[in-house]
Symmetry: C2
DNA sequence: GTTCCACCATACGCATGAGTATGTAAGCCC
DNA sequence: GGGCTTACATACTCATGCGTATGGTGGAAC
């Protein structure tokens, strides 16, 4: 009946808790990840949780590592096969714009950078992504120094875009305006 | 003796509390703004606070409105007198880069956009700033639609820059590299 | 020099959320 | 079909942080 209350009345595994945690984080941020609240969502009580995990932080760590290895790694993997670097960059921009919901977790983590578990993870992820962008610009025959700068700029624009778009409902653009905006970003940040 | 414990043993005003609140927010974020913690910083107890303010939210609101009217308004006011729009844009980018600490509060508020008091304020501020940028691009004889897009892009880059630079210690650039980066941003985002 | 009140201290109540202690029911296992 | 393990419930303790109730004090006013 209700898909969220009792999706299978089987018993839970640690993975179920991790996936539930990621859902919660995506919806309401890292702070909203509370043990009892998540237990209610999963249709059980705290007693279950403390069997699977040592404490709240252990769950957070496990959930974020799962996210880093699965979701996060996928993004780059799907774009990597594109040969032409300019085309690859265009694809990145368009994906970022189109698949905004899938970046919900990343946006939530951006707001929790002061958390000791989140910070090292985000440092890794961000460095990796900037590195990826830098190489794309290099392959588009941009001088090394300029490529590094442009990658930083593009990534900063991505991060800011997420903030303004998800948290703030900022732009409030129509479909056409939005496409035009993304096109403008590509025109501005991708060398000709 | 200790400038933080007893800066003047006079009694406090609502303004003192608001300024203290802004300091705390800049240092540790909106969540760190706790009544008793702030009272300790000011060398008094809660009893004082609840004489000046109805509750915690009232303080937050007052502090943020003070910030919006003073600090925030100053930024635009100082740049507005510059005649040449291209020069004005360059000055904006350089100020943002140089005066990073003064944007600490803005960065902290970005991480608290889910808070009902913060959201409307940040919506106002962001819209105002994007508007300001848009007009600068228009005066630099950029077509209206393109100007709006470029303003959004520049502002997103600013927001992302703050996140990556303050929270994450991201770039970790030397002085020279940093200047070169800012120069690259100006070259890329300001029309010739 | 007493009065008054703005400002503050002290001591509560109360809700929330983490973590613990302990009991219990439903499989396998042979 | 007793026994062990896995998974969960129940019922607490404890810390934190907001808000309240009430009493105290120093300095301006007269």
């Amino acid at each position: 009946m209700n898909a969220r209350q009792k999706t299978e009345r089987t018993r839970l595994s640690a993975e179920d808790w991790e996936l539930g945690a990621l859902e919660l984080i995506a919806e309401s941020g890292v702070n909203a990840l509370a043990v009892e609240a998540l237990a209610r969502r999963l249709g059980v009580t705290k007693g279950s949780f403390y069997w699977h995990f040592r404490n709240r932080e252990a769950l957070l760590l496990a959930a974020l590592e799962r996210w880093e290895q699965h979701d996060e790694a996928d993004v780059l993997a799907q774009i990597e096969p594109i040969d032409d670097p300019r085309e690859r960059l265009r694809e990145i921009f368009h994906r970022v714009a189109r698949e905004v919901p899938s970046h919900r977790i990343y946006a939530a983590l951006l707001k929790a950078l002061d958390h000791p578990v989140v910070l090292p993870l985000m440092t890794r992820v961000s460095q990796r992504r900037i590195q990826f962008l830098t190489e794309a610009y290099l392959q588009a025959s941009m001088p090394p120094e300029e490529a590094a700068h442009r990658a930083r700029l593009a990534y900063a624009a991505f991060v800011g875009f997420l903030q303004l778009n998800l948290a703030l409902g900022m732009p409030r653009l129509s479909h056409e305006e939005f496409d035009a905006y993304v096109e403008h970003v590509a025109e501005t940040l991708i060398p000709h």
